[in-house]
């Protein structure tokens, strides 16, 4: 699920960047530092949409760096158990798991594919149902349900299933 939330962060800035463009520098550094990261609490930071406030800088003892407290709005993505997602398959391998790229390198392990689906080795690794009607391979789009998440401080790890009603391949550009 995507959320638009306000987060805070203390940014340290080198004094050589003080000047007219201080704010721009701060923001660009913030973007570099934050976007694409994953925090266990909030999920993946997708994009920074705005700066709420830039606090007063505090010179740190010992170094010339200055710490600015920043409040910023951002869009975060956090997967939840039970959530239905649509994703693109980016990797298929033998261990009965398929990983999905959703946003950026975000793994789903799919143990739960329909029982009659078998792994097909060869040039194009894929999973095919016994009647050959459905093929899961790289680049194809599937709808899946998250059945479990593990949240670390810096990583969110999900297990998804497509073994349920209305789940599975929804579009396969390769086949089309």
């Amino acid at each position: 699920m995507f959320f638009h939330i306000v987060l805070e962060r203390n940014m340290q800035l080198n004094p050589r960047f003080f000047g007219r463009n201080l704010r721009e520098n701060l923001v660009s550094k913030l973007m570099k530092d934050v976007e694409g990261t994953c925090s266990g609490r909030h999920g993946f930071v997708v994009a920074i949409t705005g700066i709420e406030s830039v606090g007063n800088g505090l010179v740190r003892n010992g170094t010339a760096f200055v710490t600015f407290p920043l409040k910023y709005q951002c869009v975060v993505f956090r997967p939840f158990k039970g959530q239905i997602l649509e994703a693109v398959v980016t990797l298929v391998n033998k261990a009965m798991s398929i990983s999905f790229m959703y946003l950026y390198d975000f793994f789903f392990w799919l143990h739960l594919i329909p029982d009659d689906t078998e792994f097909q080795a060869g040039d194009m690794l894929n999973y095919t149902t016994s009647d050959g009607s459905v093929k899961i391979q790289k680049e194809c789009e599937v709808r899946l349900k998250i059945i479990g998440t593990r949240v670390d401080a810096t990583e969110i790890f999900c297990v998804g299933t497509i073994k349920d009603d209305f789940l599975g391949v929804i579009n396969d550009p390769a086949a089309a």
């Binding site: 080198n14 050589r16 960047f17 000047g19 007219r20 463009n21 721009e24 520098n25 923001v27 660009s28 550094k29 973007m31 570099k32 530092d33 934050v34 976007e35 694409g36 990261t37 994953c38 993946f44 930071v45 158990k81 990797l91 391998n93 033998k94 261990a95 009965m96 798991s97 990983s99 950026y104 390198d105 392990w109 143990h111 739960l112 998250i146 059945i147 479990g148 998440t149 593990r150 670390d152 810096t154 990583e155 790890f157 297990v159 299933t161």
Partner: protein, 984 residues
């Protein structure tokens, strides 16, 4: 000797399996009455603490007493038997005296007498009864193997014969201790006296004194009161079935025998031969594999199979010889001694085999409940989710409310079930749902954590956190946990992912450690080969830093990212984790097998980029010294240096983000050693280990002693002992950025230039070109999962690219620098795009994106740093007409001839050695000079002779001696400045 007696004895010693011992037993008993009569005279002041446990000696005396007392007391072995003694002929007084003597331990008097009256000595009393210095000692005497009992009996006989001058107190022979007997005596001399002349005692052998502390242990017997119940899983201890799993079918407590169900290991052919009386060739050490008995098969071999009904159970069994079979299983009666019941945890395979026979899967769940017999106390905890597996409430789910001894109160959310229900522990099984995060607490996978992805009744399929493998575990063996562990990551000195040398001289990476074995991915590039080894089979950990060359002779060091271009692992890529004997171990995080490790030959890999560890240069220089011509064109070397320097800065951020290795920021910094043997040395940090810093000394480069260039310097604390010299220090000629090689060393005569340029501690974030709305690449910055991919596309030569623009200002204006990179097919490079001004201004202070073009060439603080030669050097080395290697990302490199050079640094290259092929457009970083050989025609691409044609007449280290065409002057120029010309 009465039969009754012998049986009682028999029972007590439990020798029923061992006829040989039984004989001895009888022999011993025959002598007993005689001996004990005399023995009684010298009463044994043995403390009760020992007495209760002591078998043999107590046997002697007790029997003596008993026999004297009454024939019918044989079974009673305790001294607390006043009744029997009261009726004895000898008289109670005498016995009381004896008892008094035995128990009146001087120390016991201090204790509360009341305890004794109660008849149940407390723990403290027991402690007090332990032997002290004043008690007789135990001596260990060596005797012939298998003769322990005989010796004991002989000694007893001797005691009978010799009477009171025989000073030893007792003799103990333990069943489990071969080769030794214990003799209780006050002095060693008494023991020596006693064993003098004994046949089976090695008298000349040293007599060992048992320390007082261990005396009690000698005689303590481990209580093994494991109840054998039906359906319990056991393991066989003896015979060909040793170690096999068996299931208890029937227990005969009286005769101490159990009937177990096994998978038979029977060689039918052998059986058939035997039955027909044929000659049997004995093949030793051959154990038939376990296999279900097929009666039809047996009949085919003309083995007589009878079908009989068991009297007791009414079941039908197939009889072959003396063996009973049912459903393919062998039913075997064995002694309780020959099976082990403790800690039997059947593995999946074994259970599956057992399951196969009984076709109906219905039994399974109940069967599995037998596994729970070994449950520890406190197995269920409040709040656990459980499912009922037996009885009326089968399949009811609930939560544990309370745990009593045996019963567990569970609460169910079913309607109408408001009160907690008491269910027997054995009828419960833990319940998990897919998505639960669990930790395995017992069994072979103990310690690992993961997420439940599938539940098959009581068996869970868990996707482990670290190895991303599916493991099957019993629901009973896991607990819910939010913790993430790798399972065992360390075993002795070896850790997960270490490179180790095995005993057979093969090597590999540890990819899995579990409680028993270590899995090693062997260094065999042809195929993935996993060896399962024991701890002892590992010789040592290989901790070497080595460098190898990839397919294109680029130097690969640990942590470089490489791509596999051929072989079975083709297409995989990842950072190199270990290098050994030309074999690389990559870690491809998309690879699920072998914990992500891939083993490849270095020659089948291509370096995609990577971190700089400095070592490539030293080797590079070596190869040049040896006049071996590496096919690497000289210029890439230069740029490698440049870009990797840059990359280190960036990489440092990555590493520090991941592993807290913030010290990586030091890499590339100029430091001065403040103490130790290298005090005063200055150099550049090339590598930072925990407390060690590897420096590259400048001075040594000049003298060319390459082998000494790198010096390990140990510091007590890492940073305090050297001072960072900062970027202003004018001492660093090497800081002349970007084009060090443009100043030919011999020409200028002074400044050693080779150290490459470096703007240490640079932080990418300060790059003025940072796009304000970052493209995809910005993801990489913080997402630790993606650092690997970032390394795949490091800038090859960012600095030079900036310089090749004749008018750097124009580039500023175009602000599409990022896009020009994306045009090149590597969009992720965008955030690595350097400021074109950085090289000129190592402090890079004043250049903010909004004020670019202003003073691009005024480097502010560091004018002193720059050597004058460099100043006007803002030219590209690309020149028309020279031979180059074009290496586009993802493609093999091709030779080509530059046809044209554009002001923005890109050039038109005609492929082919003579430029006869198709033309492509390449940017400078994709182009590398081809290193000329001796006597080849070259073009000078830098320095004041730039553009001149010359002939390479000699090589001197990294310098080439050239004769200019127009002046015929002989010059010594850096090889990096010499570009090979295509053959005419």
């Amino acid at each position: 000797m009465s039969h009754h007696h012998s049986e009682s004895d028999d029972d007590d010693y439990s020798y029923d399996d061992d006829p040989e011992l039984e004989d001895e037993e009888e022999e011993e008993e025959e002598e007993e009455p005689r001996s004990s009569r005399k023995k009684r005279g010298r009463s044994n002041p043995d403390p009760v603490g020992l007495r209760g446990k002591k078998r043999k000696p107590s046997g002697f005396i007790e029997h003596g007493e008993a026999d004297l007392g009454a024939e019918d007391v044989g079974r009673h072995r305790h001294f607390h038997e006043p009744a029997s003694f009261r009726s004895s002929r000898v008289g109670a007084e005498e016995y009381l005296d004896f008892m008094q003597e035995k128990y009146s331990n001087p120390r016991a008097e201090y204790e509360d007498d009341g305890d004794y009256e109660d008849g149940e000595p407390t723990h403290v009393d027991q402690q007090a009864l332990l032997p002290s210095v004043r008690d007789p000692k135990l001596w260990m005497v060596k005797c012939a193997i298998g003769r322990e009992r005989e010796v004991a009996v002989c000694l007893m006989q001797k005691a009978v014969d010799r009477g009171s001058d025989f000073k030893i107190r007792s003799v103990i022979a333990l069943d489990h201790l071969q080769n030794f007997i214990y003799i209780e005596a006050d002095m060693e001399a008494h023991v020596k006296e006693a064993i003098k002349g004994m046949r089976n005692i090695f008298a000349n052998h040293k007599i060992l004194l048992v320390p007082i502390k261990e005396m009690a242990d000698v005689l303590s017997v481990k209580s093994k009161t494991v109840e054998l119940a039906r359906d319990t899983w056991v393991r066989m201890k003896l015979g060909i079935y040793k170690g096999d799993l068996a299931q208890v079918v029937d227990v005969d407590d009286v005769r101490r025998r159990v009937t177990v169900k096994l998978i038979p290991r029977i060689d039918l052919q052998l059986l058939a031969d035997k039955q027909e009386g044929r000659e049997i060739v004995k093949k030793k050490a051959f154990v038939p594999p376990p296999r279900f008995m097929n009666v039809d098969e047996a009949r085919e071999l003309h083995i007589r199979v009878e079908r009989r009904r068991d009297r007791m159970t009414g079941d039908y069994f197939e009889n072959i010889g003396n063996m009973l079979f049912k459903d393919g299983f062998l039913y075997k009666k064995v002694s309780t001694k020959s099976i082990s019941t403790l800690n039997v945890t059947p593995t999946f395979d074994e259970l599956e085999r057992f399951k196969k026979a009984n076709e109906n899967g219905e039994i399974d769940f109940v069967d599995m409940s037998t596994l729970f017999a070994n449950r520890k106390k406190g197995h269920f905890m409040k709040g656990d989710e459980v499912i009922v597996i037996k009885g009326d409430l089968k399949n009811m789910k609930g939560w544990v409310e309370k745990v009593d001894e045996e019963n567990v109160l569970i609460r169910s959310d079913m309607k109408g079930l408001n009160n907690p229900l008491a269910v027997n522990e054995r009828e419960l099984c833990k319940y998990f749902e897919p998505g639960n995060h669990v930790k395995v607490v017992s069994g072979t996978h103990k310690g690992s954590t993961g997420m439940v992805v599938k539940v098959e009744q009581h068996v869970l399929i868990v996707l482990t956190d670290t190895t991303k493998q599916h493991i099957r575990v019993f629901a009973d063996h896991v607990v819910k946990s939010a913790e993430v562990t790798n399972g065992v990551t360390k075993m002795g000195e070896y850790e997960l992912h270490d490179l180790v040398l095995l005993s057979n001289l093969s090597f590999g990476v540890i990819i899995k450690l579990d409680s028993e074995a270590i899995q090693v991915l062997k260094g065999v590039p042809e195929r993935p080969e996993v060896a399962i080894v024991k701890h002892g089979e590992i010789k040592y950990k290989i901790d070497k830093r080595m460098n190898v060359k990839d397919r294109y002779k680029n130097f690969i060091t640990v942590k470089d990212v490489v791509r596999v271009t051929e072989g079975p692992s083709k297409g995989k890529q990842g950072p190199v984790m270990h290098i050994y004997k030309g074999v690389l171990f990559l870690h491809d995080r998309h690879n699920v097998e072998h914990a992500g490790y891939v083993c490849v030959k270095c020659s089948s890999c291509v370096l995609s980029g990577g971190s700089y560890s400095g070592a490539d240069r030293i080797v590079d220089s070596f190869s040049r010294l040896g006049n071996s011509k590496p096919p690497v064109p000289p210029s890439p070397r230069r740029f490698q240096r440049a870009d990797s320097g840059y990359n280190t800065g960036a990489g440092g951020r990555h590493w520090s983000g991941r592993g807290g290795r913030g010290q990586d920021l030091l890499v590339g910094a100029y430091v001065k050693v403040r103490m130790g043997p290298f005090k005063g040395y200055r150099g550049r940090v090339v590598e930072v280990k925990e407390k060690t810093v590897r420096l590259e000394h400048e001075a040594k480069i000049v003298t060319g002693k390459l082998d000494l260039r790198y010096t390990h310097t140990w510091f007590a604390a890492s940073t305090p002992s050297f001072s960072n010299m900062g970027s202003q220090t004018p001492i660093h000629p090497s800081r002349t950025p970007l084009h060090p090689c443009m100043t030919p060393m011999r020409d200028s005569g002074a400044t050693p230039i080779h150290s490459g340029m470096r703007t240490p501690m640079r932080d990418r974030a300060w790059n003025p070109y940072t796009p304000m709305s970052p493209p995809r690449d910005s993801w990489e910055d913080g997402n630790p999962g993606s650092w690997g991919t970032n390394l795949l596309y490091p800038p090859e030569s960012p600095y030079s690219r900036a310089y090749e623009a004749a008018t750097p200002g124009s580039e500023w204006a175009s602000s599409t620098l990022g896009r020009s990179y994306s045009d090149a097919g590597t969009p992720r490079d965008a955030n690595n795009v350097p400021s074109p001004y950085q090289p000129m201004t190592p402090s890079s202070a004043s250049y903010l994106p909004s004020t670019p073009g202003g003073q691009p060439m005024t480097p502010g603080t560091d004018l002193d740093v720059k050597s004058p030669d460099i100043g006007g050097d803002a030219e590209t080395w690309l020149m028309p007409g020279i031979l180059v290697n074009v290496h586009k990302a993802g493609e093999d490199s091709n030779a080509g001839v530059i046809r044209d050079v554009f002001p923005d640094g890109s050039c038109v290259v005609a492929l082919g050695d003579r430029g006869e092929g198709e033309t492509v457009i390449a940017i400078q970083r994709e182009v590398r000079l081809v290193c000329p050989r001796k006597n080849e025609r070259v073009k000078i691409v830098g320095g004041k002779h730039r553009g001149s044609l010359a002939k390479l007449i000699g090589l001197d280290g990294s310098d080439g001696i050239v004769r200019l065409d127009d002046t015929l002057d002989v010059k010594i120029l850096n090889l990096d400045l010499l570009a090979k010309l295509p053959h005419a």
